[in-house]
Amino acid sequence: MVRRMALGSLVVLVILALVWMVAAIAPRIPVRSVPAAASPAASVTPSGPERKIKATLYYISEDGLSLPGVQREVPFADSIAEQARRIVEAQLTAAPPPYAPAVPGGTTLRALFIGQRGEAFVDLAGDVRTKHPGGALYELFTIYSIVNALTVNLPAITRVQILIDGKEADTLAGHVDLRHPLQKNLKWTELPTDTDK
């Protein structure tokens, strides 16, 4: 009888220990992000082992006067923040010929996060400022290549604020007001016609 009670107590203790271990360890097990939350406007192509999306990225035209959209492949991600990060990283790479990059070469993305009201905060390393040659038009192209790449390809992102070295910036190179999130602006994508003047 005593032996049975001791065995029963041991079983109960083992069960309690197992329950405690599961409760203590489970929160540390990584959870996968929610799939397919990004709903990108760009189309998903199952080409090769790495899934990709076709996204519209923005580069400077041959005459230097407009910022046309160009379809390019960007790695697919299963969350908006991660997809946004991949789109910006693709925007920061070299421009395909015959276009010129709208963002100075060597610019790096420090971080990207999404606010509750659909604003994306794009934190660029300070190099973007030191490498930028200035000029109102070039600065507009730099800023709106990033703003448009995010808002056009990810409709869930409605506005974009650019930070530099983790801080809110007045301007990038003395012109465009960066103190507020900026919305999509496609007027730079082509030259105005006579009727637009």
Partner: protein, 182 residues
């Protein structure tokens, strides 16, 4: 005419608008040299402020009238309570007219960009409490224009265009910045 600087010194963007506001200037004209990654890009451009990026706050300021406030000794006085941060919101129509006047005067004298008049959220313009434009006189990344910009002849053409446009704007919109005249 008041210059915000007459040498190669750095003056903050807020400070430039403050100089104009504190001196109750009639117009604010910000002169710049442009740059582009393509050396062939050339021509002058005139910008005025775009309010789209400033949302509802700009819209509210644009429609704000003066408020009657009590004054010492009794009675009230109409005081305009406008944040300098958004002061330009009330002058967008006048600034658009000024931009057109400056553009047409420049066009008679110097080469213009195909983007001759544009609107953009430029930091230096937003705090100006009067009609305001930003003029990009030419591209220093274009070797021929860089030479032009350094020459007395080209600089005189720019000055003549600005004087002509200011005179024409005064004649057409002289009372534009007086409160209640919009």
């Amino acid at each position: 005419m008041i210059l915000t600087r007459d040498g190669d010194t750095t003056v903050g963007l807020d400070e430039r608008a403050a100089v104009a506001n504190n001196n109750k200037a009639d117009l604010f004209i910000s002169l710049h040299a442009n740059a582009a990654p393509r050396p062939a890009t050339s021509g002058a451009e005139v910008f005025y402020l775009s309010l789209d990026e400033y949302g509802d706050a700009a819209e509210r300021v644009a429609h704000t009238d003066s408020d009657p406030l009590p004054i010492f000794g009794g009675g009230t006085r109409d005081i305009e309570l406008i944040l300098w941060d958004m002061a330009q919101a009330r002058y967008i129509k006048e600034s658009a007219a000024l931009a057109q006047t400056v553009e047409s005067s420049l066009r008679q004298r110097v080469p213009m960009s195909p983007r001759a008049i544009q609107q953009a959220p430029f930091r230096v313009l937003v705090g100006a409490n009067m009609p305001a434009v930003l003029v990009e006189m030419g591209f220093i990344t274009n070797p021929a224009q860089e030479k032009q910009l350094q020459s007395d002849e080209f600089q005189n053409l720019i000055v003549q265009a600005l004087v002509d446009s200011i005179t024409r704007f005064r004649d057409a919109h002289g009372a534009a910045r007086l409160p209640g005249s919009r």
